[in-house]
Amino acid sequence: MRWSHSSRVLVLGIFLCLLAGAVAAQDGEALYAKYCSQCHGDSGDGMGVAAPFLKPAPRDFTSGKYKIRRTPTGSMPLDEDLERVIKVGLPYTAMPGFEKVLSDSQVDSLVAHLKTFSADFEDPEALGEPIEIPSPPPYTPESVERGAQLYVETGCGRCHGEIGYGDGGSAPTLVDDWGVHIKVADLSMPWTFRGGGTRQDIFRTMSSGFNGTPMPGFHGALPTEDIWGIVDYIVSLGGGTVEGAPEAPYTSLLVSQGIEDEVDLSKGAELFVGAQEAVFPLVGQIIEPGRNFFPATTSVSVKAVHNTEEIAFMVRWHDMRAETIGINGPDLRAPEWMAQLDEIDWASVPGGRPGMTPADGGDEGGLWGDAEGDGGGDDPWGDAAADDGAEDPWGDAATDDGAEDPWGDAATDDGAEDPWGDAAADEGSGGDFWGDEEGAAVAGPTLASGPETEFNDAIALQFPLSMPTGVRKPYFLFGDAQNAVDLWFVDLGSDGIQRYTGRGSAAIAPAEGGDRVEIIKSYEQGVWTVIYKRKLVSRSSISFSEDSFVPIAFSVWDGFNRERGNKRGLTRWFSLYVEPLEKPDPMAPMLKAGLGVLGLELLIVFLMRRRFGNKKLIG
């Protein structure tokens, strides 16, 4: 039998439909087991095998506490909220977007399965009225200015910092409902916002808050136009992207600008006016023992200038708090991950230690033996946990009865317009974190509530010790045996700079003699600024010559995050281009070439006309 063309197409179509149906019928449970359980746990309790390595921790679906929602504080999320997170993920966390992998119907079946983990989805009381997100009013300088004022009045800066860099006074003390320190959002980096960086996204977060965290929702507490005002101020802090989602401004080239003036460090940032800013992304060092699965710093901003003699680099990064009374060094030994977890007093954390139990904390991956032998004996995290509530901000807030202080108000005033008051009055509904927090201050555990840490903030610039002759560079992790690197390490708690020569992470030694590098440093409003200066030419280390590319890399240590040695944030190799001081003027070569070509043309036309001028060839 011969099939006609159309019947073949028909059969193929039916086959494809059946196939699609079969794929879609893969139910939520199977999808959950394949794509979700490794982090969120087989039973949805957030204790998957990856959980001990993740911060923020994977969501515990049994708690019913969801951050990204279009419903009021304390309420359960809508299906569309869950769908959104599954599809686009949570930026700068381990939660990826599954848009490319899962079909809409697969996402639907996953949502249905997630909702089986918490009975609150069945509870009509827990389902909040969805918050309408109106179309945004125009973004104007006035709305930004008004937002800036509201930002202060509402007390946003207490956690998020005066200008939003995540350095508010209480930022080091914030804990989530599970007693784990939670990092405040850096409002100048909207690409890191968990709920997304568009104006509508920020409006949603402002309105709904993040359940399970200290971030309150302002729906009903602030008029809609005030929320838009604060949204616009936040948008302005992040660079003013009004349409769509802002993207991270990462680059891969640092251009040092030639200047005629003296390289005068006392000018500070003024020295670098006009120089191009390069923003380089940082990630945790997870390649060698001492792994850092959640680094505190996500990027550094760098500028460079030089004259005929000297070159200067300005490196800036955001840090919640300056740690300067301990120690640090690139050669300090950081224990392997499981041993780092052992530093935490898990007995004080509800639910105990997440995820898998350490097979053998001590010897795990002990490339350099002695994984646990790290300098300081005292464990500040343990201390902090023992030191229950002493540093607790909510306690502070409750006693700190400043008349203008919304937090103080909260404790005393149940006014309906006051978000903090709302929360306090509304104690039974389960989503009330102010109530929760105050409870936590008394009975619950707090972790690392802003203790002094034993490690300082620190920064290192890394260059090859000598200019690579071919393509081969030193290994980007502190060099290798054949190719050394020059580390310009600054422990921000001590004076000056310490240069190290790195021949691999396990072979770092203070550099001998050589070239003087001068630095100045400052910490202001959540920003560390370190400015380095050195002569362009060096005999014992790399020289920066004009019109050349020099490999450059960075390491940042955050003392609060207990980063030291190999436990740090790092970048890959980037390139520094040293601009020529005298830029060649293109005018002369342009004229020369242009006139040359014109002359040649004239000659050709002249010759052609002399030879063929009298003949009539065409037409």
Partner: protein
């Protein structure tokens, strides 16, 4: 392959058959068509230097084609002479004569003022493995070694499934940050790395490699690569520092299981 561009150019070539343009136009269309295919016809851009070489060859071929027949030479030469000599073309001749030096000057300007690009290193993605490696005191001849647990797939499916599961646990507590949840090389640290982490979903990676090759790349990581792989800038750890051989073989089983690819078999000589 950018099918739109290529089919448009093919259509133009076919169109020429019917329209029978002059020899000069025919050459121009061929030259421009070839250039457009090289420049825009492929999804992965061809380096400018390679395009230059190809266009040089194409130019020479077209010249050779014309020169082999006196009639074709006439057809090309006559319009050129007419253009330079005849009065009716004079205004156009002036315009073209001024335009060419301007274009030359502009290209010099663009070349001298273009923003600097960081030098890049063209690494070999799958560099050749050594004949033999030693992991935790065991020697593995890479040409012959195979996953010791692969045969369980047929002989003991339950034990095999348990090993895949164990490999999954290894993956999600070690590899996740770079290679990502769904093996697409889009982990949360991937944006900061160069070379970017391998996507195992890409049919050009594990689908065409033997398990022993993966074992070598996992056990020895970036530091174990030869220079053509750029060992100084790849972030792949030497996992022998963290994992047992068994864990590494298990995670390899998991990679193939998750992606539904089959490893390339050992070639018997």
């Amino acid at each position: 392959m950018n099918l739109l561009v290529i089919s448009a150019i093919l259509a133009a070539m076919v169109g020429m058959r019917f329209l029978k343009p002059s020899m000069l136009a025919w050459i121009a269309i061929w030259w421009l068509g070839m250039f457009a295919i090289l420049e825009f016809g492929f999804a992965v851009p061809i380096p400018a230097s390679v395009i230059k070489i190809y266009m040089g060859i194409i130019t020479l071929s077209l010249i050779a084609y014309v020169l082999t027949d006196p009639e074709r030479v006439e057809q090309v030469w006559n319009p050129i002479v007419a253009f330079t000599v005849e009065k009716r073309f004079q205004p156009l001749l002036v315009v073209v004569g001024l335009l060419i030096p301007c274009v030359v000057a502009w290209s010099i300007y663009a070349d001298m003022t273009k923003s600097k690009q960081a030098p890049s290193f063209a690494r070999t993605v799958h560099p050749a493995p050594p004949d033999q490696i030693t992991v935790h005191d065991t020697d593995y001849p890479l040409g012959f070694a195979d996953n010791p647990y692969r045969t369980l797939e047929a002989s003991a499916p339950e034990e095999f499934a348990a090993r895949v599961q164990a490999g999954r646990d290894v993956y999600y507590s070690n590899c996740l940050w770079c290679h990502g949840d769904v093996m697409a090389g889009e982990g949360m640290f991937a944006h900061a790395l160069n070379p970017i982490p391998t996507s195992f979903e890409d049919p050009g990676t594990i689908a065409m490699l033997r398990e022993a090759f993966l074992f070598w790349r996992i056990a020895k990581g970036a530091p174990g690569m030869p220079d053509e792989g750029g060992p100084w800038e790849s972030a792949m750890p030497a996992w022998e520092n963290f994992l047992s051989e068994e864990e590494m073989w298990n995670v390899i089983l998991f990679l193939y299981d998750f992606t539904d690819y089959k490893p390339r078999a050992v070639e018997l000589h």
